[in-house]
Structure formats: structure tokens, C-alpha cells
């Protein structure tokens, strides 16, 4: 077998794990002047490292292509991650992690990447299996990112007021569900949804009007592009000044933010119908509305959905930022800006996590509807290359 055929990731994993056994696990405690921990004293970790060396070298030669190999590798990685966390917190390595520890993390990284790689390239005709694989890959990747965050923050002893570890954020999240729920209701349900519907809806209607009047199209669109480049930070305080402290001013900011992407996309979409198709409708002497509903709006749908997707993330961000400029004392943006000042950074991150979850779910919902509504579009057909 030649060098090039060796599985490089597994090789890296094996070598890094081997070196991890040799190099010091942790540094010296500044106060006591003693070495914090030795690999030899922690059987679980030693086992995990040894296992990594064995499995890594085995798959270096065997090659890790099958789904079972991927599963085994991921299982080893999970065990390793668990041991690494336990070393950090149960053996006092947090804040003192040394070269050996980081080498082991590198080894785990190589394993995780190889495992994810295998599953990502998994093809099955069984739809549920394929869906499961497609779901596992990003989740595993995300969990890995969280793990790295946790380990880096704890390992280097980063102050909590700068960046708390995810475990702490998770704990705060679970313990503050009532506050989070109230904030979510204020920001998302009241401000985001209403602003989103008003902004996208009005832009859609204006787009159809603009499309009918070419003069407006030529006059409004270039300005529209300029307005969408306006920094909303500047607009937000003005909206608070005009529409008051409650959700209405946030909805207004969202309307401004979402209006122009929707307008521009819809107008573009209304012109997306091919010349040939328009000619076809002309041969039927089809009227304006008939052509609009039968040809131009369906052809515009991919563009409309594009705007809806962009706006779904913009809307949440807009609401949160607008809350920096004045709110009643509830809401996600309010909480974020207040809790920073109170040094409750874990609460800040819990809100950020909530925002990310809500935003992703919102985006996902729109994308799902898009898939259902425009399944005819070429981008949803099977790609072969």
C-alpha cells in the first residue's frame, strides 16, 4: 500500500494521541507551584488516548470508508470528548491545560472530521436513512464546535465575563425559561412577526404596483437599493422617537429593513418570465391580470422566497438592535444589553442562543414552504455533480 492511500486523518489522530500520552497534560499551578495532573493518574483519559492510538492506526491502514467505520470512529471520539471534559472539571485541569491535552483535542478533531466525512458521503436509497444521515452531519458538527468552545474556554481559563463556556450558558438557559419565554413573546411574537408580515406584504403589493408603472420602476428601484444600504442603527433611534418604546417601533424598523429586499426581488421576479412564455401568453391575448396570475407570479416565486428567507434573519436582528435604543423592560434585545452591564454574560449568551434558534427555525420554516411551493424549480431537482 502506498503512502497516498493511507487515511491521513486517522494517521493524524493516532500520532497526536500518541504524543498526547508523552507530553505533559497540564501546566503548573502558580500558587502551589505543583504540577496539576498527570495522565498516569487518570485511567479514563489514558484509556481514551490509548484507544485513539489503536483505532487511529487501525483505520489508517484499513481506510475509513464504510458507515460502520464512521460510527466506530465517532464513538471513540465521543468517549474521548467525555474523558477530556472530565479531566478538565474533575481533575482540576481547567485553566492549566498543557500541550498533552491540546494534542489529544487535535486527535479528537481528526477523528470527528473523518467520522463526519464518512457519514456526509453516505448515500442510501432508503429515504429515512438518508434523511437521518443528512441530519446527523450538521448536528454532530455543531456539537463538536460547542465542545471546542467549552474546552478552549475552560482549558485556557478565559474569564467568564468575557466568554462563558457553553455548559454554563446551557444551564442558564434551562434555569431562565420564564424570562426567555417572556422576552421571546415580546420580541419575536409581537415585533418580528408583525413587522415581517407588514414589511414583506406591503413591499409585495408595492412591487406589483411599481411593475405596472414603468416610470416608478425606473425611479424607485435605484433609490430602493440605496435605502437598503442605509445603516439601520441610524434608523432605529428615529423609529423609537416616532413610534414609542413598545413593539411598534421595532416593527417599524423591521418594515424598513425588509421592505426593499422584498421590493427589489419581487420586481426582478416579475420580469423573470421568459420572453417566449410572454409571447405565448400574447398569442392567447391574455389580459394583464390573467398573465400576472398564470405566468408572472409563479415565475416570480423563487425570487419572492429568496427575499422571504433573507428577511427572516434580518427581521430578528432588526428587532433586537432596535431594542437597544429604548424598550419596556422585557425583550431579547433589552435583556442582552442590560445583562452585559450586569456582568451576567451567560444570560446574554442564553438570549443569543435563543435568537439563533428562533432565527434558524424561522428560516427553516420559510425554506420548507419554499420547497413545497416551488418544487418545480430546477434547483430542487437531484444534482448529479
Amino acid at each position: 500500500m502506498t503512502w497516498t492511500k493511507l487515511d491521513k486523518f486517522c494517521l493524524v489522530a493516532a500520532i497526536a494521541a500518541l504524543l498526547a500520552l508523552i507530553f505533559p497534560l497540564a501546566g503548573v499551578d502558580g500558587d502551589t507551584g505543583k504540577q496539576v495532573a498527570f495522565v498516569g493518574d487518570i485511567p479514563g483519559l489514558a484509556a481514551a488516548m490509548a484507544l485513539s492510538v489503536i483505532v487511529g492506526s487501525a483505520f489508517t491502514w484499513l481506510g475509513a470508508r464504510s458507515i460502520t467505520a464512521g460510527m466506530i470512529i465517532l464513538a471513540v471520539a465521543v468517549f474521548g470528548c467525555w474523558q477530556a471534559l472530565s479531566v478538565l472539571y474533575d481533575h482540576g485541569v481547567a485553566g492549566f491545560a498543557g500541550l498533552g491535552f491540546w494534542l489529544f483535542i487535535l486527535s479528537l478533531w481528526a477523528f470527528v472530521w473523518r467520522g463526519i466525512d464518512v457519514i456526509a458521503n453516505y448515500h442510501s436509497l432508503d429515504r429515512t436513512k438518508q434523511h437521518l444521515a443528512n441530519f446527523v452531519v450538521p448536528v454532530a458538527f455543531g456539537v463538536w464546535l460547542l465542545f471546542v468552545w467549552e474546552v478552549v474556554v475552560s482549558g485556557f481559563g478565559v474569564p467568564q465575563v468575557l466568554l462563558p463556556p457553553p455548559s454554563m450558558i446551557g444551564e442558564r438557559f434551562v434555569n431562565s425559561t420564564d424570562i426567555l419565554a417572556a422576552d421571546f413573546h415580546q420580541t419575536f411574537v409581537k415585533a418580528v412577526l408583525s413587522g415581517y408580515v407588514m414589511g414583506c406584504g406591503s413591499a409585495f403589493i408595492v412591487a406589483i404596483a411599481v411593475d405596472r408603472v414603468p416610470f416608478l420602476k425606473r425611479g424607485l428601484l435605484p433609490l430602493g437599493n440605496m435605502v437598503s444600504a442605509l445603516p439601520i442603527i441610524g434608523v432605529a433611534p428615529i423609529m423609537v422617537m416616532w413610534f414609542g418604546f413598545d413593539w411598534q417601533s421595532k416593527a417599524a424598523v423591521i418594515v424598513i429593513m425588509t421592505f426593499f429586499p422584498m421590493l427589489v426581488n419581487t420586481v426582478t421576479g416579475l420580469n423573470a418570465a421568459g420572453k417566449l412564455e410572454k409571447d405565448l401568453m400574447a398569442t392567447y391575448a391574455s389580459g394583464y391580470w390573467s398573465t400576472l396570475f398564470r405566468l408572472r407570479l409563479p415565475a416570480a416565486m423563487p425570487f419572492v422566497f429568496n427575499a422571504l428567507k433573507i428577511n427572516s434573519t434580518l427581521a430578528l436582528i432588526g428587532a433586537i438592535v432596535a431594542e437597544f435604543f429604548g424598550t419596556p423592560i422585557v425583550g431579547m434585545g433589552f435583556r442582552i444589553s442590560t445583562e452585559v452591564g450586569r456582568m451576567n454574560i451567560d444570560m446574554v449568551w442564553a438570549e443569543i442562543a435563543l435568537a439563533a434558534l428562533a432565527g434558524t427555525a424561522f428560516y427553516g420554516a420559510v425554506a420548507y414552504i419554499e420547497r413545497k411551493a416551488t418544487s418545480w424549480h430546477p434547483s430542487f431537482r437531484v444534482r448529479r455533480h
Binding site: G142, L223, M226, A229, L230
Partner: protein
Amino acid sequence: MTGSVRGPSTWTRMMSGQTGPVCVVLIALLVLWYVGAVFMNAPTQIDRYNRADQTWTTGQLIEDTLAQDRPILPAPHQVAVEMYHTIFAIKITSKRSLVYHSWVTLSSTLLGFGIGTLLGVLLAVGIVHVMTLEKSLMPWVISSQTIPILAIAPMIIVVLGAIGIKGLVPKAVISTYLCFFPVTISMVKGLRSPQVIQLDLMRTYNASKWQTFWQLRLPSAMPYLFASLKVAIAISLVGAIVGELPTGAQAGLGARLLAGSYYGQTIQIWSALLTAAFVAAILVVIVGWCERRVLVRMGVKS
């Protein structure tokens, strides 16, 4: 000119282009703005009359609403005067010059835009070529944008400051974060835009991945790239401005905006805002110009 007018008149020609309609719409907006200014400023003005036990006429009211010191909505001419003073009537090295502040913002905008574009393109290349990256990274790229970066910008500044990175770079980092996303998304689309038949063609030549990339994927992606660059440059300006807010009293359009709102000086806010919009427009126009140059070189139908 005498005799018959040949071809369309100047008026119709102007109106069928873009400048004419834009001007008309602008004028309409201006009128609306004036009307809005009168209506929004009237209550405080009337309050003021009442407090001073002063009688007033409608004409006087209109005049006064358009000349308030701290109007709720400043009149266009007030903003214009302020902009004239801070742009043209003052040395550009002065701290009161908007040109100076624009430059401060612009430098971090451009740095962030550069890094963001590079990052965006690299990510897209990775995602298009490596299935694992597509499946694992792509969902997170989308999720990353649902994090209100604007809300954690102050913390980013502090964290970067803690590891000794100060000045231009933290602001550019925020720009980068905002502007890599549209670039990645469109580039992924663009790099995938070659038709199956074109990819098959390259396969029949047994072209390598890199050859296919340079000869086929990248040229096909050009229109997508430029469309996203226009969004990215505007958004990276927003990022730079956001980055300037937490650093409070330091220079830049963001600092101007903040100082304006801190002291309730709406005229200053609006002129900073309009300047930002102009800078954004100019940047977008420059990108558009580059786009045309590139596309012409690529032989695309004008």
C-alpha cells in the same frame, strides 16, 4: 432649434432613462419630507408657543417647525446646510468634518469587505468541492447570521481588545462577519451554476478540479459574485458603523450617529445617516462599474 424635432424630445428621452424618473421620485420624496417635518414637529412647537403664552398663525407655525433646533424630523434644508458645513466648509482633517469621519469608517469598511469577500469565496469553494463541508458547514453558515452580531459587537470589541487587537481591526471583524455571508451564499450558487452539460464537457476532457474551476465554475459565477459584492459592500459599511458605536467617543460615522442621538441632535443624526447612505451608494456604484468592466471582458451581451 428650429423646424421639426427629430426623434424623441429631450424630455421624453430623459424620462425614459433612469435619471429622469429618479429625480422626479426624489422631488416627490422631498415634498413628502417637508410635509412630514411640519406635521411631526408641530406638536412640540405648539407646546412651546403655549408655554410662552404666544399666539401664532399657521404660516408662522410652518416656518418655525422647519427651523427648530432639535426637531423630531429635521427639514431637508436643515440637513443640507449641516452637511454643507461639515463636508465642504471645514478642513477635512478636522474632527468636525464628515469627510474625516467617513474616511475613518470607510477604511474599516474596506478592510472588512476585503477579508469578508476572501473568506466568503474560500468557504464557497470549499463547500462546492467538499461534500462534507457542504453538509456540515452550510447549515451553520446560515445559523450564524441569525445571531444578532450587532448585539454582541461590543463584546467582540472588548474580547479582541483583551488580546491586544485594537483600532481598525475589531471594526473590520464585524464587517467581515456581516459581509462574508452573502458572498458565500451567492458564490455557492454561482459555482454550481454551470449546466450539467458544461460540466460533462469538462469531464470528457478529463479536466482536473482546478481546471474546471478556473475555466468553467469561476467564470460562470462572476455575475453571482458581483451581485453579492454589491450587497456585501453595503452591509460591510453597516458593520463598520456598528463597530464604532461601542467605542463611543472615537471617530467615524457611527460615532457621529451615536453622539448625535446622545445629545438629541437630530440634524446631526440625519446628516451622518445621509452621508452613510451616499458612501454606500458610491461604493455600490464602484462595484457596479467593476462588474461592467469584467463582464465586457467576458464578452457578455450589454
